[in-house]
Symmetry: C2
Subunit: 285 residues, 2 copies
């Protein structure tokens, strides 16, 4: 099975892919951006893909949410994997932190290490790369001897670099939640994982409506879930790209989309909104 993920080799996304029990059977397809990875599923270039959707420090991965809503309506979330994230500071050879001129990484990673950078390398310029592993690859090139990347230990090893410091994220216990994407409605869960009959499920939805600005609209929407005992584990608003003040709402519900109370709650919600889409229903990590 072809599996797409944010490459190159050594990214956290690759680590999430390799955590699946079926990983030895995968054909790995590293892709250049999160956006490309979501679209590769939609176009059928890969059977499944893994993308980050949420980090415990930085919040939602907006590119993933926006791509699922605006550009890949046929793609479903079919599983999730949660990984602990330990960020390392990586350079091509050992050097004192105060000699580092550029720190480069994916924006989510530099954001997770904002305090560390400010305290240890206040003069360094912060630059962005398409992934943490791409940052390590760049830093490994000979001309960049005063550059440091933020990324995984795996990437440091793959590109022959040195780890200058580990655990540099501002808050420890940092985790990232990845989702498995597929167009195939028969694919359920992380590949190779046994589905226990009593497993907990989640259902991810997105909705929006014209009532957004009336006092009780969002309350009335969420009440459709609460009054039926359907728990909400997460809610997130994102711009609907139609001007300030217009939002869509992403929510994760406890339960499977075929559970009677979830069906009932979603039917109730549908009556309150203009658009309601199920992004996926899958076994919780």
């Amino acid at each position: 099975m072809k599996i797409g993920y944010l490459g190159p080799e050594g990214t956290f996304s690759q680590a999430a892919v390799l955590s699946a029990p079926s990983a030895p059977q995968f054909e790995l397809r590293p892709l250049e951006t999160i956006h490309d990875t979501v679209l590769a599923v939609s176009r059928g270039a890969v059977e499944m893909a893994v993308v980050p959707i949420e980090n415990s420090l930085e919040g939602s991965v907006n590119v993933t949410l926006d791509a699922l809503v605006f550009e890949a309506e046929d793609v479903r979330i079919v599983g999730e994997t949660v990984l602990a994230v330990e960020q390392c500071l990586i350079a091509q050879e050992s050097l004192p932190l105060d000699q580092i001129e550029v720190v480069i990484s994916h924006p989510q990673a530099t954001a997770q290490c904002r305090e560390y950078i400010r305290a240890n390398m206040p003069e360094a310029r912060v630059m962005t790369s398409s992934s943490t592993a791409e940052a390590v690859r760049l830093v490994s090139e000979r001309i960049r001897h005063r550059w440091a990347a933020i990324g995984t230990r795996l990437a440091a090893e793959l590109y022959g670099c040195v780890v200058l410091a580990t655990g540099i994220e501002d808050v420890s216990g940092n985790q990232t939640r990845f989702v498995w994407l597929s167009r195939d409605s028969g694919q359920i869960g992380v590949p190779g994982t046994e589905l226990a009959p009593e497993a907990a499920w989640k259902t991810a939805i997105v909705f929006w409506g014209e009532g957004t600005e009336s006092p009780g609209w969002l309350v009335s929407c969420l009440s459709e879930l609460a009054f039926r005992g359907v728990n909400l584990t997460r809610i997130e608003s994102r711009p609907l790209r139609a001007g300030l003040g217009s939002y869509m709402f992403f929510a994760d519900l406890d339960g499977r989309d075929s559970d009677p109370q979830v069906v009932d709650a979603l039917n109730g919600l549908r009556g309150r909104v203009n658009v309601l889409r199920t992004l996926g229903s899958f076994p919780a990590a």
Copy 2:
């Protein structure tokens, strides 16, 4: 009056500062990051500051929200300014787009132009700078003749650069909402603006609680507002930095924090949550 903002000269933040009627009396203090700008108010290095808080395409400016909650409890939002954003592609001299090797800007600006970059400069490397104007300044240096920045026309003029294309944001009608910050409770509104007695007010709050994972908790919180006819114009969740699944909620309410129904609603809400803070109450833009 000393006014801090995200510098250098030519940023959208500077344009927001200069839109105030009292601008001719300001001593401008461009600062290096949004974080520095919020902290400058807290430390008393400036009397007021202007920072972006929300964009109609990219959503919340997380650095601003996090700094207000975690690092500058004494700083209040006292006013807001909404600006239309027109992004320009800027280089030191005219060149065909397919010869551009690097596109550099603030991450919010590159995010707003993601489609444009993909369609017109798919081979270019995207790099990050601390502001749009800093990107233009970098591009104006002689060694970077195949670089392009995304920024304002004002910055292009200030740094002697050429505008290659205008209105390159993926969705037109893009707006950014800026807030005015102060520690002084006597400061109300955008400096120099007349406060009409019938002006509409907004109150910005943040709250969190241990009930986040129970089915009806968020609904019961929002109901405290809705049942008293207090309208919610915006709600946003952000990680509480205590692991996946723990969130704080930012909300903007219609009304002033001294209005009886707002006082009443906030008292009701306080009974449901662990922490409730008013970030500011100010005349709406």
